[in-house]
Amino acid sequence: MPEVIQTFDLKKTYPLEEPVHALRGVNLTIGPGEFVSIMGASGSGKSTFMNILGCLDRPTSGSYELDGVKVGGLSRNELADIRNEKIGFVFQGFNLLSRTSALENVELPLVYQRKKSKIKPKDKAMDCLVRVGLADRMGHQTQQLSGGQQQRVAIARSLVNDPALILADEPTGNLDSRTSLDLMGLFQELNQQGITIVLVTHEPDIAMFTKRCVEMRDGLIVRDTPIEEQRDAKLELEEFSGVIGI
């Protein structure tokens, strides 16, 4: 089985008047089934790194291999296809289509699928919504759902194309602590099912739910350590509910 992510000396320079070196040679390998958090203050280059990992942006130099495919020299259209087939995105701001049902939102990546699938897009999407626990909310419009539910829809959307990698960019940033716990529980559950997840966050607390923490500063990886004592979101949620008496 190939590594899910393998970058070598990844550099990104923005050609401004005074060139900005957002990434200055990043080497990272992430294997299948890993649950990695990328931490760093703003300006550390983690967003740029995330965009390159997500094939939304191209590195200035260096190589990037995603699920055995060299992504470096691909065209815009080829990158779009890679995103469609191999990556699932979860954003801080949910990024769902407004005035559109949960089901249609989840179906969206399949609309742009070039390979024909045997399973009907609708069935596949319903399946994913069941996996994130929204079986009874499929027909609801985006604005009729709570923040936590919206993020669950986004996670269902990221699952729908059976991606090699789920990229989550501050997924709990807009949510209260209880809902955050709830969602981290879902991520942990999905990871247990074997899905590789890379989670970008600036909160050390959240990073504790993952299995490995990568810290970035000034466009470089400064620390890459396994989490010794992984927090269990489900357990904590039960305790949390107990404390406030729900």
Binding site: N51, G54, L56, D57, R76, N77, A80, D81, R83, N84, E85, F89, F91, N95, L96, L97, S98, R99, T100, L108, P109, V111, Y112, Q113, R157, N161
Partner: protein, 405 residues
């Protein structure tokens, strides 16, 4: 990506902004509607004129005397008296391309009959006159060659004469007096209705010779000669033949001007329709400009829509839409918008034409080809004005688009 999927996306996004979509379409609706209605009015007017001119006669050539001038004052056609009774005979004998000929002698006068009186136009004509005009008899008979030779005092009247003098009763066998000369009514013309202000049924026909000798007194002359060519195609050839025959008969030498004037039905039609055509073209152009403005409206709204939906575009691109997919989505939206506007415009133009016909009494003709042309044009407008916004949408950077608030 399949086309119906794109159509589905276009449909749902247009429905989400219903008011805006309808307002945008309004530009196209009015543009297309205006073009069709203008052309329909033009076509209707043209046909109106053609029917009116055709009601003058079948494959008609009208011959009048040329203008004369007395002491430098030119007096217009028909002012000289050069057309003779015998010219009619000459044309009938010598012209092969002529189907029917009738001299016409106009007589004015009060008609007295049935204990009442009425002013009408009395015309002396030949029996051929009914062929030329395609007039038919309702009752009785028309006068014949024998009546012409014998200058009998018989008359064929139109229904207006019957209604005004005899109160709609039986007229055959009744007698009327024109300029104190008694005539016996032998036939009643079928009613033809009026064209514009002219009542075609207010007419009294008497034998040409009777009118010339007994009513006018200047027995040699006719006011006009109406000639019917054998067919529409032969009209020009017949005109030439009649012209040559008359020149010979009038002993005109080469280089001398005609002392008569020929007008064919086609010339009349052309003269009358050319001005309407200019008008129609002008109006259609103005309507086309409004259609163009409608197209700019489509582009405007599509540009707003692209900006407003930047985030949506970002999401679509992030989950794997190619630039082409995004472009097609917006292009199809623009085309659907303008095509739908075009269809509505066509439907509305039918309604407007109906109203114009029913309430304003205008003749309107909507031709099939103009419908397909305007539908095609509205589709093209969608492509033309949708392309720029769609291209703009497809070139958005996904990272910026996702961050767009």
């Amino acid at each position: 990506m399949k086309i119906f999927k794109l159509l589905g996306i276009a449909q749902s996004s247009l429905l989400k902004n219903r008011t805006r979509s309808i307002l945008t379409m309004l530009g196209i609706i009015i543009g297309v509607g205006a073009v069709i209605v203008m052309v329909a009015i033009g076509e209707g007017t043209k046909e109106n004129i053609e029917t009116r001119i055709n009601s003058l006669g079948t494959n008609l050539i009208m011959i009048r005397s040329a203008s004369n001038s007395a002491g430098g004052v030119r007096r217009g056609f028909g002012s000289s008296r050069t057309l003779l009774l015998k010219d009619e005979h000459t044309i009938r004998e010598q012209c092969d391309l002529v189907m029917a000929v009738s001299g016409i002698v106009n007589v004015n006068g009060q008609i007295i009959g049935g204990g009442s009186n009425w002013s009408s136009s009395v015309m002396g004509v030949s029996p051929d006159y009914t062929t030329i005009k395609s007039w038919e008899l309702d009752e009785g008979t028309f006068f014949t060659e024998r009546d012409i030779r014998a200058k009998t005092k018989v008359a064929v009247v139109g229904t207006s004469i019957r209604d005004n003098l005899f109160g709609g009763g039986d007229v055959i066998g009744q007698s009327i007096r024109i300029q104190s000369v008694p005539f016996k009514i032998i036939g009643l013309l079928k009613s033809k209705g009026s064209t514009g202000s002219q009542d075609q049924d207010d007419v009294v026909l008497v034998p040409l010779t009777t009118a010339a000798f007994r009513l006018r007194g200047d027995s040699k002359y006719v006011s006009q000669i109406y000639v019917s060519a054998t067919s529409m195609d032969m009209l020009d050839a017949a005109q030439e033949e009649v012209s040559q025959t008359l020149r010979m008969a009038h002993k005109l030498i080469d280089g001398e001007d005609d002392d008569f004037n020929l007008t064919t039905q086609t010339e009349l039609t052309e003269a009358f329709t050319s001005s309407t055509e200019t008008m129609t073209t002008l109006l259609a152009w103005i309507a086309a400009i409004s259609l163009f403005v409608g197209g700019i409206g489509v582009m405007n709204i599509m540009l707003v829509s692209v900006t407003e939906r930047t985030r949506e575009i970002g999401i679509r691109v992030a989950v794997g839409a190619r630039g082409f997919d995004v472009m097609m989505q917006f292009l199809i939206e623009a085309v659907v918008l303008s095509l739908f506007g075009g269809l509505t415009g066509i439907a509305m133009s039918f309604g407007v034409c109906r109203v114009l016909t029913d309430f304003a009494g205008m003749t309107t003709i909507i031709q099939t080809d103009i419908i397909f042309i305007s539908l095609g044009v509205s589709g093209l407008i969608g492509i033309f004005f949708g392309l720029f916004p769609a291209k703009k949408a497809s070139e958005l950077d996904p990272i910026d688009a996702l961050r767009h608030e």
